[in-house]
Amino acid sequence: VLDQISHAAITLRPSHLSAGVGIALMCGLGLFMFGVAQAVRRNLVRTTHDFIIAHRRISLGFGVGSVISVWTWSMAVMLSSASAFTWGTSGLMWFVVPNGLAVVALVPFAVYMRKRMPKGYTLIQFVRERFENELATLVMFLGVAFLLLSTVFINLFGVVLVTGVIFGLNKTVVLLLTLAIVMLYSYFGGLWTSTITATLAALLVSIPAAIVVLYVLYKAGGPHAVFTRVHGLGSKEFNLWRGDTAAQFGLSLGLGLIAVTICDQSFWQRIWGMRPQNLARTFVWAGWWFYPIPLCLGLLGLVALGSGVQTSDLGSFGAGGVGPYLVSHIGLPVVLICLYVLTVVTACYSAMDGAFSAISSLVAVDIVKRLSPNIGEKKLFRLTKLSIPVAGLIGAIVVNSGIDYVSLVNFVFFVDIGFVVPVALAIFWPRYSSSAFVAALVLAEAVGIPIRQDISPLWGIIACLGTSAIVSVGVSLLTSERFDFGRLERAEAELASEHASRAPERTPVSAQAAKAASPA
């Protein structure tokens, strides 16, 4: 009987869901997140400091949940299915393993940075204090801002893709709606909102993924049937050690993923916003428990393979659209299709929200406070929030320009690889100099990008990493300077005393809070 089931063809038919359902899902989720953001804002956010660093009181539960969620980009949800569909289990391995490892690999960076700069806010602030060099600060600012804006673009694309495949929604409508929704709830809460909505998003991504995949397996005739069908396509789909996957896709993606976490202010904001005692455990747990999400959703790619889905069936969306295509064609109940859409849209909203929150911290700490150190609390709060719609507007313009999703992802990851060695050496090596930092960053991109374009992505990565390592070490060894990391803590202490001298600004809010806390 099992053999008969496994050889029976699966009929794939479109579910013909109306565009209105898609819009209702997007708006409904946005409304829910907005409600949560309002509750968080009323209860926890009182000053710019609360807005950008959450009193440094993020707990273990919110830390683990929000880190999982911030890292679950549209890619983790949809590219996991796409990589399994294109490369079999080897594609899934090359996609998933570096993804989880990238989060755990942050532990030494996080604990050393928090030890050396306990009251920091942004990675750029660290570079400024560490090198005291405007050019180094500017280069780092450009890199971090580029990555954050790219997070917005990539996740906007994710929403466009899923709603386009399942509901046939117009791209511009989806772009505008998504931006309006996410900006609205990001605008009202900062890091507390981002952390708490992201923790809810981690739930909305992991549990529905399990339910949807279990039902897809059932509709496909069970895992045994799918397993037999995929086996029937040839042994390579279940060969984890395929060399072509590593060369054409795995190595470049893996290195790129690890680079992204190290340069991503969304993570650094959480590193400085968490209770220090929870730091290492949060990132280890988040890394471990991130793995199951792309692994689970990757099964959709294998089911699609076993169901005879061809790349040509996916139209202009390409392999990235395989998950939404399968879910909307295999005959799932409408409620489960909607649950899948919620999974993808939640992941995208959450990653964008994290990026907006990080952008606002950059603007507050690295632009406004630098240009106008004595700015009033209210004005600083307004300017910080204004950065969110500005970033959203830039995102909309880029996505609407017609740039290709996969090319954008690959390019962003490639650029980030150039930052890994300089950022790591800046944190760990006292002899690393500002001129070495700037030269390594600029030359790594200048050498790597043309090689990537003209020869291959893999050789481009090797050139990029090699150049940044050689230039970093070579230029630093030319001088005998050693940086005293204790200076970072002393600089922070000075800032703290300066902040304390401006304390009366907070008095009304504090008094109000004290009244609210009073048992009477």
């Binding site: 209860n43 926890l44 609360d50 009193h55 440094r56 009181r57 707990s59 273990l60 539960g61 683990v64 949940g65 391995m93 393993v97 989880g100 490892l101 690999a105 532990v107 604990v111 030890k115 306990p118 708490i196 809810l200 739930l203 992991s206 549990i207 993924a209 399990a210 339910i211 995949v213 279990l214 039902y215 059932y218 895992p223 045994h224 799918v226 397993f227 037999t228 984890l240 209770r275 220090p276 005692q277 929870n278 730091l279 280890v284 747990w285 890394g287 471990w288 428990w289 991130f290 199951p292 692994l295 689970c296 099964l299 304390a500 304390a503 008095t507 504090s510 809070a513 004290a514 806390a517």
Partner: protein, 112 residues
Amino acid sequence: VAIFIIGLILAVAVATAYVSLGALDFLRIRRELSRVTAEHPATPLTEPDGDVDPARETVGFAWRALGGVVASVALLYAISHLWWAWYAFPLLAIGTGVAVSVAFVIDPTKSA
């Protein structure tokens, strides 16, 4: 269908626990902030004490990182050879919800 129904029940139970524990943690943080602000109404909100000891925090870090890599590769190897191992992935995705719920409960800084 039986496996789907069991999975669904499990998922609902985990989601309920997750939301409840998250709400309790949120209320705890709010109480803590109000208490700290009430104690020091005229000064900026004090930040929690605590130091990071890199030497202690990174002990066994490489093993823990490697553990995640080995476990995920082993699972992928299993689904490449055993059809019933496919059920492990949805189960583990539900496990993500369990892990965050446990994190809400065991937070060592809760009383801080």
